[in-house]
Symmetry: C2
Subunit: 354 residues, 2 copies
Amino acid sequence: MESRTDAGVAYGEVADTPVRALHLRAPYLLFLGEETSPLKAKTAFGLRDWAPERCLAQLRMPGCSVDLGLSDMDPRSAAQAGATSLLIGVTPPGGRIQPAWSDVLRQAVDAGLDIVSGLHTALESVPGLAAAARAAGVALVDVRRPPDDLPRATGRRRSGRRVLAVGTDCALGKKYTALALARAMRAAGVNADFRATGQTGVMIAGRGIAIDAVIADFIAGAAECIAPAAAPDHWDVIEGQGSLFHPAYAGVTLGLVHGAQADALVLCHDPARARLVSWSDYPVRALRDAVGPYLEAARLTNPGARIAAVSLNTSALPEAEALQAIEDAARALGVPAFDPMRTPAGPVLDAILA
Amino acid sequence: MESRTDAGVAYGEVADTPVRALHLRAPYLLFLGEETSPLKAKTAFGLRDWAPERCLAQLRMPGCSVDLGLSDMDPRSAAQAGATSLLIGVTPPGGRIQPAWSDVLRQAVDAGLDIVSGLHTALESVPGLAAAARAAGVALVDVRRPPDDLPRATGRRRSGRRVLAVGTDCALGKKYTALALARAMRAAGVNADFRATGQTGVMIAGRGIAIDAVIADFIAGAAECIAPAAAPDHWDVIEGQGSLFHPAYAGVTLGLVHGAQADALVLCHDPARARLVSWSDYPVRALRDAVGPYLEAARLTNPGARIAAVSLNTSALPEAEALQAIEDAARALGVPAFDPMRTPAGPVLDAILA
């Protein structure tokens, strides 16, 4: 059902409705531009770490000092080695495609590579690139651009099982938690898929929807498409977004919770964070006070939803305090807790699958 | 700060950010096409009933049997009489602009009228209309199209007071309740404005944002723009959307609740409705069980938020049962209740202003 000619978009039969969902063609040539800061190359490092099988090589322009440890290739040699997309793995100031990149992007298109971008600049706005892509029969894929024709949520229960990462704030490890759990499930022989709801997640998974970019009426409908009906023993491990307690983004979170219809929620929290990032008027809700609202929300569309585990981001704490915080969180909520960067996922996995 | 040339859009200084917000130019020539069903002309009747001062005349094509009781005018005579916009007041099947309307729309543009539409078809897609509008210096205004450059919500408290209609389902009288309360406030000498969050509301108010059409990240930000900082004694009476208990639309509702920062909520409910309209798997929540989640949501951004009153849609009940239902609702929640179609707003108004 995939179609090369349709702007990187393929039709999939999900949620009772044929819906356009992004499909990215791997393996990728990871483009690092002239970047000198590893922090600005987080997308590329995330891909290398979480989807190594999708990463073939790196392309570094003169001056670039970031190194992913992959082979350096130009677009033509990457295409010959089997790459199918050039993926922009850096975020320059302003989130914009740089004029200095034009020649390389054009070379990639001419070499038959799709271009994949999560930046704010639309790829089509790069002079000449759209025409070259049409001529070469390749796609320009803006990962933040939502699919057309999203359906409204039906609210009908779907087969298969689902776990969703939720949190007390943005940017505290929901994507990392979901990736770690999906990896641990697969390692344990569980039939599981990571389901992406943000742009880096979409690049890692090769499919998904940046759910904060859809029209408001379709948030829950998009979530139903992201985690469609599946085999009864299949687990979707769904990346969370925002927080029910965030004054700007809670609408996205609630729609995602409703559409996900999760059987299990993993509550993500940073015990060292007192205030919401960038919204410092707002205190971070205590873990225990986050349980009720999330269960209330999740049980609208799945009355059996439960908080299965806690995922703590203890990166700001020394080891002893981190382990104590994990123990405290588990005791406070009566469920297993872990930090996917520090402690094994086993007990949490057992609690989710129970 | 208004600009005729900028597609019907003007800049307004709201929520700390200069934001494009729709401004519709009244008075309107209400266009009824060839419509024969008053139900399909609900937009036009709503305007006549709620914004009579914005309605100058009606335009009925041959075959039209709907009558608003306004003078019949063609575009040129309406323009000479002072009309500034032709407003499409009917919803044909599919919500599409009809090919048979093309000549009239073109005549309106040539007569110097803006065109205002809430239909799904973009006005720019009518062949020749955009070029004619540019030549005539008039605007084509698609009310469902959100403003560009919406900000993310700040969550910072704004001056002025606000009341928001919320509900146990969609389509049970939240707009009507807000309009009735705004009218009653003004009649009582209160400095008050109806604030529109849906397309018909925007046409009535002449400004606002169809909040279900904005990008998900900006729902609460749009709500902050719709009800901006105001004088301390000013009341915004904000149209509600959706329901926290709706499996498809709750994200819109939560973002609106957070951005509105309402001091008072009016809980709208239909006591005769057992199941959500069009989502019949879902029972309508009991009035008493709706209070907690709405207060939890509203108090994130306004800790003083309270349920001030109940608005019942008793249209399905005979008079005696309706009055009993209103009494029961008031007793159940301990706040005044009314049906704006049946009973006076006085006690509810007092409770809101208290």
